[in-house]
Amino acid sequence: MPTVTITVNGKAVTREVEARTLLVQFLREHLSLTGTHVGCDTSQCGACVVHVDGQAIKSCTTLAVQADGSAVTTIEGLADGQTLHPMQEAFREHHGLQCGFCTPGMIMTAVDFAKNNKNPTEAEIRQALEGNICRCTGYHNIVKAVAAGTAAMNG
């Protein structure tokens, strides 16, 4: 079996995995980082979004072996201890979540977006969330949260 070394949330981990192991399985099953979720099997829903080398990707559509040598950040690695990341804080403040299942992927997508878009319009935010499906919120408060979180990150 291949061996992978991936820096996950700042810590290097080395594991033997079957080549067919998806990155999301590696995170959830091998590392017990269950904050990253699986909501579909066609790469549509975005519940599994994590950052690989700083960029948002769908961890259900990436093999763990592809991430060998990379740095992965998951939702668990976003806050600084009890101090929330500004995007997390914005989701709480603006009620940008209900059941919470899509939320980790939503936040990880939003953080990457905010890094690249300092002052987005509502339409740009909605487009940026095209790959993240939420069934609870109607997106209204997620859009507000992303706007506020983006402003806070770039403020």
């Binding site: 549509q44 929330l84 059941c99 919470g100 299942f101 339409a123 909605r126 069934r135 109607g138 209204h140």
Partner: protein
Amino acid sequence: MTAHTGIGAAVRRKEDFRFITGAGRYTDDINRPGQAHAYFLRSPHAFARIKKLDTAAAAKMPGVVAVLTGADVQADKVGGLICGWVLKGKSGEPHKAPPHPVIALDHVRHVGDQVAVVIADTLAQARDAAEAIVVEYEPLTPVIDLRRALEADAPQVHPEAPGNLCYDWEIGTPKSEVDATFAAAAHRVSLDLVNNRLVPNPMEPRAAVGEYDRGTDELVCYSTSQNPHVLRLILCAFILGIPEHKLRVIAPDVGGGFGSKIFCYAEETVCVWAARKLGRPVKWTSDRSEAFMTDAHGRDHITKAELAMDANGKFLAMRVDTIANMGAYLSTFATAVPTYLYGLLLAGQYTTPQVHCNVRAVFTNTTAVDAYRGAGRPEATYVVERLVEAAARHLKVDPAELRKRNFVPPDAFPYQTPVVVAYDSGNYANTLDEALKLADYAGFPARKAEAAARGKKRGIGFSAYIEACGLAPSAVVGSIGAGVGQWESAQIRFNATGSVFVNTGSHSHGQGHETTFAQIVSDRLGVPIDQVEVVHGDTNRVPMGMGTYGSRSLAVGGSAIMKACDKIIEKGKKIAAHLMEASVDDLEYEHGIYKVAGTDKSVPMAQVAFTAYVPFNYPPGLEPGLEESAFYDPSNFTYPSGVHIAEVEIDPDTGITTIANWTAVDDFGNVVNPMIVEGQVHGGIAQGVGQALLEGAVYDKDSGQLLTGSFMDYCMPRADDLPSFNVGMTHTPCPHNPLGVKGCGEAGAIASPAALMNAITDAIGTEIQMPATPEKVWRAIQANSSAQAA
């Protein structure tokens, strides 16, 4: 302090920290030592006889623990899945209830039906082995279409249900009287309506883990359930035949339900059964493709709806004939949805004196259909509000004006409808006026003209909905077939140091109960909100409860909490009186402080609680401790109402509908947390917009294959499909529950499809069926322009 966190405050949610940091604990996050994984082999056919099923090769595959079939289920005397609502048809006979095996026996009846289950050390091994199971099918001709199912020569889904008819049911004014009114009426409008089949698609797929403790003979079932006690009851008493005290059902964080997680399904049944049989924890997690095939779907009606009016547009009678799809098997509450949850709402917000509704429910070779957000009430609102808008067009009367002419007036409550229910309270014209203002209805003609100048067709549409939720007096629902009561439980347990557990029988899967319920308790008992812990979703930690569905948690579960608070306050009064050496009768109580009237003596609740557990200076004869339970059985449904106004713009070149504005003004009575309530409205609107514009489960009508089997083909609303919403509220308190609240969870999904379809019809001048896909809209515009040219 309580001023900011009590009833009415937009308190930020207590539960959010774990969700935004990835520390939520959903069923698939739970792994038990020694756990094996279940993978279901499912039918590729819509209807077939199983000629041969050979699991021998699969059983020898690496990692396989067992391969179990319907025969194994039967051999272990595991019962079939049940429908818990006995519906009596016109003739008084109960609905047809064909067997619903946990794993198929001789026939499969829809694509995705369980054929066998492989249990292996890893999921990949289970899936590998499933490919080694040999099944020979004799494919049979399936029946998919609703009307076709009722034809004399249609294939028969079940021998127990001749003609594929599950029941033929009616309600309301006698048909002959309604017919006579129609015959004499000055105006009549009629619509043929399709209420499209939807797939609920909560983002968390269903999952279950079964675990057995040989030493204590206890079973645990972790499940993505909206109502763990009901699941326990069904699993124990009806399917597995185990005593209720030996099964603990835990529904941890649940990632949305929308009705689809109310029901008892085959998969959790298998996990529990197999865990005991095999002596190992057994885990199953649905993938999205399985969810499409096996989660109970929603809606799926075809209806002929008619409205009779007098010369002034006063509604005289409504006649509704509906065929409702049950799918291949009856899901847990399937029979109630297109009947009591539908027909009882057909009076809408109007004084229509006569309503007759007939429903025929049919079996087809499709996935089971059951409650989905709104459950029957969106279908009813769709019928009523499409008809009213058609009537306004027919009469050339402003649709807002026509509604006002027919609204139940505010002084008429309680208002007895011709379809059994009596509305508790409402002020419909007031809500409509608020909505008209918020939507700038007066400015619509100018906006339409501006859009036309850009080559776009702009339309506006209303939906004035009524909902009956917060199910409801147990005796009433029992008399119409419900298998369980409809009360709710609460238990308030003080700790000696003043913090509180609130154990509720309702279940939160996104609704924010941990915050809303804590607000109530904090407000009533004066306990800081961070000292209140709301516990739900574990049959061993909370008293028997009914769970969450039908917008019932606050109206029924919250009322139970209020009752338990009252009991705490009563008992505390005796302790406080003793501490202050005063008479109980002289005590006043407010927000956690006991005072002796007319003095400056007071004792806070925290001191009372401490004294209750350290009872050194204590009223003689009084039990120590401060813990109370309450059960609340409502005296009526609650009847939230509201008006949604959709404004759309259509691109005639492509047929794409864009929502330009959305206005919702809802009357939920009193509101505990407006932020959470607005969030519920937003989400409901999105699901209703999804139904009207995007979503629809499509089966191939010949083969019965599910063509919309993934998010690649089933169109889920995404952020860029929707606008931000203008949400307003009016407040007519519910007169019969202690909080004065009405349910809010389903309203958006109930109101929005009719509003959107009315707006599209307004824009293009033609009736089309949901979902209003770009091609349908484009074709309607084409047909219109060629008709005008001709």
